[in-house]
Amino acid sequence: MSEKLSVNAIHNGTVIDHIVAGQATKIIRLLALINNRNQMTIGLNLTSGSQQLKDLIKLEQCQLSEKDLQQIAVFAPGATVNTIQDYKVTNKLKLTLPEQVADIFICPNKNCISHSEKTTKLFYIKEQNRNVGLQCKYCQQIFLRDEMLLTIR
């Protein structure tokens, strides 16, 4: 069965494509997409020309904010975000890993000063051996990105 037949087109909204397989469910959780009542189609482990397997998310009636895009970029660098209007792609954005993210994640280290002071929650992105880590500006601890899922916003 071809990929086109397995996932329906959307009328207006956003398609996040070329997500590395395994990351789509994390993105849904990260953006709390399950909580909005709009139609959402998820494709997992789809075959793709450029990568072996990919995930895909189609969000009807949904526009992503800059903050949402930064979060997705941490979990799925290389993904493309397509804005759809009247079944047509009106904008296409390829996500790259940012150098740092601000006020998106909370430090998993409970003894970090960032919890008790009103300050920007800043993390530097560190990529090593295909692992993406986030280093807290304050306590300097490096966390794997999956650890950040437990402490979103």
């Binding site: 003894n111 970090c112 000063i113 008790s116 009103k118 500006k137 304050y138 306590c139 300097q140």
Partner: protein
């Protein structure tokens, strides 16, 4: 040459370049040999210790006073408005208005970085939770330079709790400037974190893992011992390792003549007290060097 440390914050050892580290150590040794100038006359140093400390606080205060500075501050949070719920940022802002430099120790990681962001005066980190303690690293480096007359290409064993020991992590980071051969001696459950091993690899530094002092004692110039906290051992390791990682005079008979034993103190029972009387023991000189290295740092930060 301009002094790049003038009015600078020192929060983490990585804030300093190799040249800056070398400059601080050279000045510290000079101050130890030739005495201290009154270069901080008229300056006010805020000593802000939000948790108890003996060696660090007293050596900072001794260093400042020997240089001619006056001291204000507190030695525990109970005597501050933090007790009334004042934020660290507000306390730091007030200290900025009163003093010329601030030394801070705080139980939470990242507190010194936050203080440096907020303060309008230079901030020296005197320990922020389990994170950084850069002046300990500087005094360790000064001590190595002093007892081996070099920092480059030495053979150094780190022994004990290499997983949680912040002094070991910072010293290991600093040694990437100077190279050498390293031996990590510890139980598997207290192994050196991957990020330090990766850092060594990235700097082409050789290291190996060992589980007893006996395996390395005859090979090294510096034995850097750390305190073993029994609650951090796995139950089956405690009995097996207590003896293998305990330094005794008998073990030191296999050591090279130039081997020196260092320890950030306080020690518990990982170094037999009888080792104190051997020529290899150097941990008390190491602790004493804390004053000189802090004098050097205060002098360089407050004089252009």
């Amino acid at each position: 040459m301009t002094n790049s440390l003038y009015q600078r914050d020192v929060v983490a050892i990585n804030d300093l370049t190799k040249d800056e580290i070398t400059k601080i150590i050279e000045l510290a040794i000079e101050l130890k040999d030739n005495g201290v100038p009154h270069s901080l006359q008229g300056k006010l140093v805020a000593s802000c210790f939000f948790e108890p400390s003996t060696r660090t606080r007293l050596s900072f205060e001794a260093a400042a006073q020997r240089l001619g500075a006056n001291i204000i501050g507190f030695s525990d949070v109970a005597s501050t408005s933090g007790k009334k719920g004042e934020s660290l940022s507000d306390t730091v802002k007030m200290m900025s208005a009163y003093a010329d430099l601030m030394v801070i120790r705080h139980p939470q990681e990242g507190s010194a970085r936050l203080a440096a962001d907020v303060a309008t005066i230079p901030v020296i980190n005197a320990g922020d939770g389990a994170n950084q303690h850069p002046t300990q690293t500087l005094l360790d480096l000064m001590t190595i330079q002093e007892c081996q007359e070099s920092l480059t290409d030495l053979r150094i064993a780190f022994v004990g709790d290499l997983k949680y020991g912040r002094t070991v992590h910072s010293l290991a980071q600093a040694m990437t400037h100077f190279g050498g051969r390293f031996y990590f001696v510890c139980p598997e459950s207290l192994a050196m974190p991957n990020e330090i091993c990766d850092l060594f690899k990235a700097n082409n530094m050789s290291f190996s893992f060992h589980q007893s002092l006996d395996e390395v004692i005859s090979k090294v110039d510096i034995l850097y011992m750390t305190r073993l906290q029994k609650e951090r051992f796995l139950a089956n390791e405690a009995a097996a390792f207590s003896d293998k990682l305990r330094l005794t005079p008998d073990l030191l008979t296999k050591a090279q003549k130039n081997l020196r034993v260092m320890h950030p103190l306080p020690r518990v029972d990982e170094i037999d007290v009888a080792v104190d009387d051997t020529p290899h023991a150097y941990y008390f000189q190491q602790a004493a060097n804390g004053v000189f290295v802090r004098e050097a740092l205060l002098h360089l930060i407050l004089n252009d």
